[in-house]
């Protein structure tokens, strides 16, 4: 029997991994902006 919740579980898994990558990119971007501002001042 096919589990009816399977696509929903897969959707949540993909969404979670996308959110994690997006969060990592945003943190990376914030760190980069911080270092750019330091570099521009020096």
């Amino acid at each position: 029997m096919i589990d009816s919740n399977e696509p929903e579980a897969e959707r949540k898994r993909i969404q979670r991994s996308r959110n994690r990558v997006l969060a990592a990119l945003l943190i990376g971007f914030c760190i980069l902006v911080y270092f750019i501002s330091i570099a521009k001042m020096s």
Partner: protein, 307 residues
């Protein structure tokens, strides 16, 4: 433009978004952009240098995403590209378009704010050149599409150099021209021995439209032009003798291999196409070695080891 990709109930995975940026092409973009930046007579803060290369890479990724958004129907008709996120139905077209626009606009803005607006302007021009002039306008219309497409790949060292110096001089334009003239023999050598589906989807590639003989002649012509062009940085005094010697040797070998391809004919269906395969493999090595020689030469001159 019709949409062929089937509706998919699941959202696209982040790996599909990453695949949309053509990471393998990006490695060459990063390498040549970095060489342009490192070979420039002025240097910038390492963080700003990293940011400039990041912007070049992200801009190239954005242009690649827009290219795949536009060509989703064509990609679906070719074996080599049918597994890409859009033709395979793993992503909807709007997401790909928005992703491409976001990367393109984001990279140009960051380049402008962090590095300078001249570099940002050239980056914007390179994205428009690849996504609009090449992909949408000229690729489906002319067998010279590879020549025109070469321009898109030639922008990174130009942008890298401008990011470091803040101005356009003869040298970055020569670096642009070297990649521009290198691209046709590189791709046409590949096109001669790889059976492509381009004809099936109506893209006029040179070997299909003009025939093998004309393609071989054009390979030879571009290789001939590449020899003096590659020596020009040394000739005008912007590169030293180490680069001059390396460029001379590399380009003469390139010309000899092109000569072998240019003067031969295919010997039936059983032909192994060894000269064409050798030229293609060497062309990749050629570009990496030439740009590495440029950076090494600059470093040796700065250190006072070479003139």
């Amino acid at each position: 433009m019709s949409t062929q990709a089937t509706a998919y109930p699941l959202p696209a995975d982040w790996r599909d978004f990453f695949a949309l940026t053509k990471p393998r092409v990006m490695s060459l973009v990063i390498f040549t952009g970095l060489c342009g930046l490192l070979a420039a007579p002025e240097s910038i803060h390492p963080v700003l240098a990293f940011t400039a290369i990041l912007c070049i890479a992200v801009g190239a990724g954005g242009a690649a995403a827009l290219n795949q958004w536009w060509e989703a129907d064509l990609d679906a008709g070719m074996k080599r590209t049918a597994g890409r996120p859009l033709p395979a139905g793993r992503m909807d077209r709007t997401s790909a378009r928005d992703f491409g626009v976001a990367l393109s606009v984001g990279s140009v803005l960051l380049m402008g704010l962090a590095i300078g607006w001249l570099a940002a302007g050239i980056l914007a021009l390179s994205i428009i050149y690849y996504a609009v002039i090449y992909t949408i306008w000229l690729k489906p219309r002319t067998p010279q599409n590879i020549v025109i497409g070469g321009g898109a790949g030639a922008f990174p060292p130009l942008i890298g150099w401008i990011a470091a110096t803040g101005e356009i001089t003869a040298m970055p334009v020569i670096l642009f021209a070297i990649i521009f003239f290198w691209t046709p023999p590189h791709f046409w050598a590949l096109a001669l021995f790889v059976k492509s589906d381009y004809a099936k989807v109506g893209i006029p590639m040179m070997p299909v439209v003009a025939g093998e003989k004309a393609t071989r002649q054009q390979i030879l012509l571009y290789a001939l032009l590449l020899l003096p062009l590659s020596l020009l940085p040394w000739w005008i005094g912007d590169a030293g003798s180490v680069y001059g010697i390396c460029a001379g040797v590399l380009s003469v070998v390139f010309l000899l291999l092109s000569l072998r391809v240019g003067l031969r004919q295919r010997h039936g269906e059983g032909d192994t196409m060894k000269p064409e395969k050798q030229l293609f493999a060497y062309s990749v090595l050629y570009l990496f070695a030439l740009f590495a020689a440029l950076v090494a030469d600059h470093w040796l001159v700065v250190q006072g080891i070479a003139a």
